[in-house]
Amino acid sequence: MDYSVEVFESQYSGRTRIPFLQKVRVVVNTPRKAEDRPVSQLSGVSKSFTGTNAVRHVDMDIYAGEIHGLVGENGAGKSTLMRVLAGLHPDYSGEIRIAGQLERIASPRQALSLGIAMVHQELSLVPELSVAANIFLGREPNSRVPWLISNKRAERNAGRILAEIEADIPPSAKIEQLSIAQQQLVEIAKGLSTDSKLLILDEPTSSLTEPETKDLFRVIRNLKERRVAVVYISHKLSEVFEITDYITVLRDGMKVDMKPSREWDEQSLVRAMVGRNLSEFFPKSHGACSEQVALEVEKLTRVPDFKDVSFKLHRGEVIGLYGLIGSGRTELATAIFGLSRFDTGLVKVNGRTCKIRSPSDAISYGIALVPEDRRVLGIISMLDVRRNLTHANLAHLCRLGFIDQREELQLVSDNIANLNIRTSSIGSAISTLSGGNQQKVVLGKWLNTDPIILILDEPTRGIDVGAKAEIRSKIDHLAAEGKAVLLISSELPEIIGMSDRVIVIRDGQIAGTFSGEEAEVETIGRYAISGSS
């Protein structure tokens, strides 16, 4: 085996750089031999969910003894592609070969029997059962007494597997007593207990601390030595560089490139991940914002989600808040809106310090939040369009405690006309509307509360292109009318195209602020993704 050591300094390792803390990367060069056949070979794999293509014609070869990084922006299709391989999306198209054999993977069970195990982002353990019981769930070893199962044998075998990956976890401990990191290791042990040849890890470090991550990497390297193929999904580039041999980049469900990790550098990887054309139209017609500060956030902190976040949002201004999922952006938005608490810091509206303890406080100060997940916090799916549009400001529509029906109808028909909501009637259940029109209803609901400050969390996610353009132009109009807009989005072109200023948040802290002219896809993407971890 041929080792080479590369010493490099991370360009963005923070302001205080200690000389001896250089990052060192060991690249183990195990060239693929000609006779090697991939453990798994995907060709032309596609998967679409109603209307949207999540994965389009992806080819990917995964070899034994290799750690294969799969990277891409949020929603690029990484998880979907791997869930196809794990048998969770049996309605895929394209061909999958396992050890050269063409297979149609129709269920998780079949995937397991083919030697494919996946450790999901959200853990799938039974918290009340022991470690051993979870590892062998569905495959419990028999006891000598007929009909009974043997806990002892399960624990012994589990202990062996855990020892193999050097996880120091007692097999008899209950899952609920373990830390998240330990649970993660149990998941890996579960995957290995089926003798898997291919282990897929989906964002395994998203809830781990730095030392725990290092321990996990040690385990993954051990697997590699045992000739297990590992697919490592992550958006933490430093980790991907540290652990992987090959990197495949997905963007918008399509494969952009696949190269050995050493042939990538941070810049080229970020460009491959985010560098798309600004082909879509972004209206930015609203003029310069006023000097009047609508919302001021001072050193807002909540451990561990965000820390010392300060910014000023003016009337007529659109600030784009960009960060990856888990960077703290949504947590920040919900804290400002009173949906969750913050530890320290101040929120000022129109220069006055506000005590916002609940969304109703926030509404009374003129703040509105269009939340991230429409189906969870946005709409009440059993109610009709009319009730969904007015339930946030019913007090304004009430006379002597009764809802003024005529005023409500007037308001609702105004909303439908203004926002161009396409619905068969105002009495239609909101669940019958398309995603884009549902989102317009949510936006309309919050505009009805007559806000000064609009926080929009992923307002255009998962809706079709036409509706996206309509919502974007509405946001632009609102800014022109003098509303202050905080726009959170995972789509960089949207952030850059819409915003007067862009704030990049990473690991709960502001990593950089850019004015509209400075804001470029690559720079912002780099600030959000890489740097010191």
């Binding site: 080792y3 080479s4 060192v24 060991v26 059962l129 019981a133 495959r139 009974l148 290092k214």
Partner: protein, 338 residues
């Protein structure tokens, strides 16, 4: 050029077990409290009543308490299986009434072999059938368990009142052995409860089925992903609860020496209370046979104690209500500590 470099990762900074060990030492204390608190409380309350109530701490009274808890204990164990699977069974009292009444009708007849066999087997078979109806509706009909068994509570009760509204007296003496006889000093119902307890403990802890009940209640998706037949497990759980209600109906009728169509009214609430006071989670996946039984015993002891202290009946109910809520409240607090 060939350079070899050995890398040390964080495992060298700290022996891998160190964090876990210090953590587990801390855990021992809280696990002790969490896992055995209910037994301490049982002993504590038993002694408290022994001190304050004359004649409470006698062997006879202890056996009497066990005898009184036997029917509810059997039902509670069935209820535990259902609750472990994240379900609920409100129809237990009604099933008990059906089983007890039909059994009583055969027990009044001449003691021919057919009648004896039917009097003993019919309640259990009927209980099983009722449970299977619940199970099919929950597992395959996908109707929420609360609704299915609430409907069954009314329907089964309605059926038995319509079928035989008059009580059945003068049951044959052989039939009363089950409910009224003793082996040594141990009453037969207590022995039956003991057998059921042992059987249920083995079933839950040492068989595949028991493991899957926990898995289905603890994380249904994980269970399905592991290839477990979730629907079948749910069906069996309700069938088992029904079967145990049938057995409880047999014991109840025999002990009373009479069958009534109104028997078992309100039993579902006491059974749920027993299981919950015994630390089981209504959200499924957590609970043990032993603790469910202790929960039932606790409720019985408090009830008997309050009766012996001449506490008026309405006040007893207030105390019971407070105990049920505080038991779960304390349990939740303890759980939050770790």
């Amino acid at each position: 050029m060939l350079t070899r470099t050995r890398f040390r990762f964080s495992k060298d900074r700290m022996p891998p077990g160190a964090a876990m060990k210090s953590q587990s030492r801390k855990l021992v204390g809280s696990v002790l409290i969490r896992d055995y608190a209910i037994y301490f409380i049982l002993v504590l309350i038993y002694f408290a009543f022994s001190m304050t109530t004359k004649g409470f701490a006698t062997l006879n009274n202890l056996i009497l308490i066990l005898l009184q808890v036997s029917v509810m204990g059997i039902i509670s164990i069935g209820m535990l299986f259902v609750i472990l699977s994240k379900g609920i069974d409100l129809s237990v009292g009604s099933i008990l009434a059906i089983a007890g009444m039909i059994s009583g009708i055969f027990a009044r007849n001449d003691p021919t072999t057919v009648n004896v066999v039917l009097a003993l087997a019919i309640p259990i078979i009927l209980g099983l059938v009722c449970g299977l109806i619940n199970g099919v509706l929950v597992a395959w009909g996908r109707v929420p368990p609360l609704i299915v068994t609430l409907g069954a509570l009314y329907a089964f009760r309605g059926f038995i009142v319509w079928y035989h509204v008059n009580p059945v007296y003068q049951l044959n003496s052989w039939y009363r052995i089950i409910g009224q006889d003793k082996i040594g000093i141990i009453p037969v119902p207590v022995l039956i409860l003991l057998l059921v307890t042992v059987f249920a403990s083995i079933l839950l802890n040492l068989t595949r089925f028991g493991r899957y009940v926990y898995a289905v209640g603890g994380n249904e998706n994980a269970a399905a992903a592991a290839g477990i037949n979730v629907k079948l497990i749910k069906l069996i759980v309700y069938a088992l609860s029904g079967l145990l209600c049938g057995l409880a109906g047999l014991v109840f009728t025999s002990r009373l020496g009479a069958a009534q169509s109104i028997s078992g009214d309100g039993f579902e609430l006491v059974a749920i209370a027993s299981v919950v006071v015994g630390g089981a989670s209504l959200f499924g996946g957590r609970g043990t046979v032993g603790k469910a039984l202790v929960g039932a015993l606790l409720i019985q002891i408090i009830q008997s104690g309050l009766v012996m202290l001449n506490v008026p009946s309405p006040l007893q109910k207030i105390v019971m209500g407070a105990i049920i809520i505080s038991a779960v409240w304390v349990d939740l607090r303890i759980r939050k500590i770790d």
